[in-house]
Amino acid sequence: MIPKIDKDIESVVIRFAGDSGDGMQLTGTQFTNATALHGNDLATFPDFPAEIRAPLGTLAGVSGFQIHFGSTQINTPGDQSDVLVAMNVAAFKVNIKNLKKGGVIILNSDGFDVKNLRLANVPEAQNPINDGSLSDYDVKIVDVTKITRAALAESGMTTKEIDRCKNMFVLGLVYWMYHRPIENTLEFLRTKFKKNEAVMNANIKVLNAGWNYGETTEMFANRYTIAPAKMESGVYRGIMGNQAAALGLIAASVKSGLPLFYGTYPITPASDILHDLSKYKNFDIKTYQAEDEIAGICASIGAAFGGHLAVTGSSGPGIALKGEAIGLATMLELPLVIINIQRAGPSTGMPTKTEQADLNQAMFGRNGECPVVVIAAQSPSDCFTLAYEACKIALQHMIPVFFLSDGYIANGAEPWRFPNSADLEPIEVSFAKERAATDDKFMPYFRDEKLSRPWAIPGTKGLEHRIGGIEKQNVTGNISYDAANHELMTHLRQEKVDKVADFIPLQTIDSGEESGDLLLLGWGGTYGALRTATAQLIAEGYKVSHTQVRYINPFPKNLGELMSKFKTVVVPELNNGQLVKIIRDKYFVDAIPYNKIQGLPFMSHEVIAKIKQILD
């Protein structure tokens, strides 16, 4: 056996790709956890088809999971991969264009047989394994299927069952290559298959077989060491966006002292919030899977009326159905958080692909003048902060708040230096107090300095009152068709949103100087790509800065001033130009739109190229 050479590297991008039944998401998630525990900074990008089991071996059925990790700061899952693990021809074909020249390809040779070649539409008599087309890459051909079957020959399992363990072989091999700790996956397998010892043992055996394969075969001469990243000191965990959103809601519930009610209807990519929340009933978290999207939000409105912290969640198509009820909540002036995990639209669009094209819907997607607060998370862990913030604003201003996330950060993962609950900003809530018959009549639309009305919950003596979707007289809340009153109420509802600006943080420059030639002004999940691009541009001597807007309606009070220090403002968005129109309208800034509408996140090299094109 030749000695293995250990190389120190700063960062690496690995893409696991296979058939949607090959367990690539699980492989990626396990690798992510092990890497997080190892102390690397990381970012991930799961990329999978909407079909649960697309036809086997086809291009449509390819499921990928990309992870970028390193000893330096990692902002994105990486533009191109250094290593491609391809379980079959289709996975190879779909992903090879994103592999760096000279990169490593680990191929499962059994996935390159005649049948797989045909399913992936490879012309006859061609096979990338032996036709010389891969001479630019470092190709490792491994008989994953064969070795897995051999390892489990004595297991008594069927071939079909055995083949399901293939992903563990690959995981074991890649663990070996990158010195990842294997223990957390062993623990995972022990828990997951605790009721089926045969399957548990089989998976553990194959995982170890993968590790040993790296150790013993001459094909793998190199191993790589990636030192833990120099991150801010503290205690970390790995977190995905939807997980973080669920935790943020629970934290807001605990800190406000109000039980949480989550009324929703399953939809990709928002359902995981429901799944997560439903596990924590012991926190007084009440989840309600309604008969449809409309019932989901309406039940939440009922819960808000009753004094709960009420939240509804969906994705674009569901939000479209909720539109009328959001208008109702605006008229009722009750606290309500509306979560939209955006996906590519319109209509059904591309459910598993990311996009930022529902900003207009959040801002304007209702009948009448119907302003609501809109905030958007910029990274997986930021979903915690902003879900918490959405609840806080809703409760303290008696107003509906849109919390926008997207499929990319919802399913993406990163290390998170999580907060102590004691350090979270308090959320003070008070209900209107009961009244005696001798007291003045209760006025349900009497406003405080924030212009919000009292929260008078049923069951409180002396506060009996009626609210509804019909225009009402200010202060009394009685039905009113009075012309001047309608205009007054319209202005009040707008001012109420505007006043939120007094309670949110000022906009800051994320990287770069306070002034310069160009400001990249992004929002939402594009944060990592824009940050990486800005760092690169600055390193090359460009006077470029980056700011990411998280509070969109209202904007932070200093946003206009912040933009005014730059000669050019560019607004990159994964849509056809939505924030840019609001910015141009509100600040008369000649902001330049930069749009990508492919269901995919920005690559930082694309952003760099675009900015150079503008500046050079």
């Binding site: 833990p228 801010e232 965990r237 449809d292 009922g302 069951g459 506060l463 009996e464 009626r466 039905i479």
Partner: protein, 341 residues
């Protein structure tokens, strides 16, 4: 439920808002009966919540001096479910019409009955769209000539009672605006029932569909055309109580009591779903010969099904008992953490 110190009156339940239904509308009677019943329930008024959708009937909450919400079209049941789930101690009522509940809110209607929260749903059925000025509704009879159907409606109507039984409703009853006593009895029983109570109320729209239920409500025809069901009593009807319903297997037959003994008649059993289902199908066009009389009263009660609000909150209590009160910091930290120095 809190005990009330002093007895409330129906006036205590009237809000200061002027009632704006058309003069002669059947809704007035329903409002009056509800305001008459509520003081008898011995419950403080702050515990009552009336939630409505859109339509003439849905103005109802504005006239009640209780908590109320006039919401959006068809969605009152969904809103009420959310409120009742989170505040089970409240007495939650839904006021809705045939357009609101049978058409735009049909989905929420069936799911309300399926889930069975302890909510009372008063379905004002006038077989017409009143607020939008006279289009046919999903309970209008086929052939109905209205503004939107000048050649007559081609739609077959819904049978709300059969629909409710089909959706596994646990309390299904029918009454009429012109019979205050019967109406009060039905509303009271709806309140007493633990679970979703559906009371279909035949309500006259004297502007757009006047006389739709005249045959059941007018003295001259009421006895002949209606079947007033009472639990444990034989199904008797007719001008001189001279007719009855008998079951031949599963087939109901009208018999003349001059030829047949009352002892052979079908004894109404509210807890018998199969028989309730047969009765729900007494839905013939009364202008046709050999039709069955239209039943009023309680078709069906199921007292053995837990309510949604109970199950919903029991599960929360169970989780707290089993897992203990949640520790937020532990939850945020998750299972695996690492320290960076």
């Amino acid at each position: 439920m809190t005990e009330v110190a002093e007895k409330l009156t129906s006036k205590d339940f009237s809000s200061d808002q002027e009632v704006r239904w058309c003069p002669g509308c059947g809704d007035y009677s329903i409002l009056k009966q509800v305001q008459t019943i509520l003081p008898d329930l011995g419950r403080p008024k702050e515990e009552f919540v009336f939630i409505s959708g859109i339509g003439c009937s849905s103005r109802f909450p504005y006239y009640m001096d209780t908590y109320g919400m006039h919401s959006i079209h068809g969605r009152a049941s969904a809103i009420a479910t959310g409120l009742k789930a989170t505040r089970p101690e409240l007495s939650v009522w839904v006021v809705s019409g045939d357009g609101d509940s049978m058409s735009i809110g049909g989905n929420h209607f069936i799911h309300l009955l399926r889930r069975n929260p302890d909510i009372n749903l008063l379905l004002f059925n006038n077989q017409i769209y009143g607020l939008t000025k006279g289009q046919y509704s999903p309970t209008s009879e086929q052939g109905k000539v209205t503004k939107s159907t000048p050649l007559g409606s081609i739609d077959y109507p819904f049978n709300p009672i059969a629909l409710s039984l089909g959706a596994d409703g646990t309390f299904v009853a029918r009454t009429m605006d012109r019979d205050p006593k019967h109406q009060q009895a039905m509303i009271r029983r709806a309140y007493d029932h633990q679970g979703t109570s559906l009371v279909e109320i035949y309500q006259n729209c004297n502007v757009f569909n006047d006389g739709a239920f005249e045959i059941y409500t007018e003295k001259s025809s009421k006895k002949e055309q209606t079947l007033m069901m009472e639990h444990g009593k034989p199904l008797v009807f007719g001008e001189n109580s001279d007719k009855g319903i008998k079951l031949d297997g599963f087939k109901p037959i009208i018999v003349d009591l001059n030829d047949s003994s009352v002892n052979d008649l079908w004894i109404h059993d509210e807890e018998d779903l199969v028989k309730a289902t047969i009765l729900s199908r007494f839905y013939d066009d009364p202008s046709k010969g050999d039709h069955f009389p239209r039943p009023f009263g309680v078709f069906y009660v199921n007292n053995h099904k837990d309510t949604f609000d109970k199950l919903f909150n029991d599960q929360i209590a169970y989780a707290k008992e089993k897992m203990g009160k949640g520790d937020l910091d532990k939850l945020i930290a998750g299972k695996e953490t690492w320290v960076v120095n």
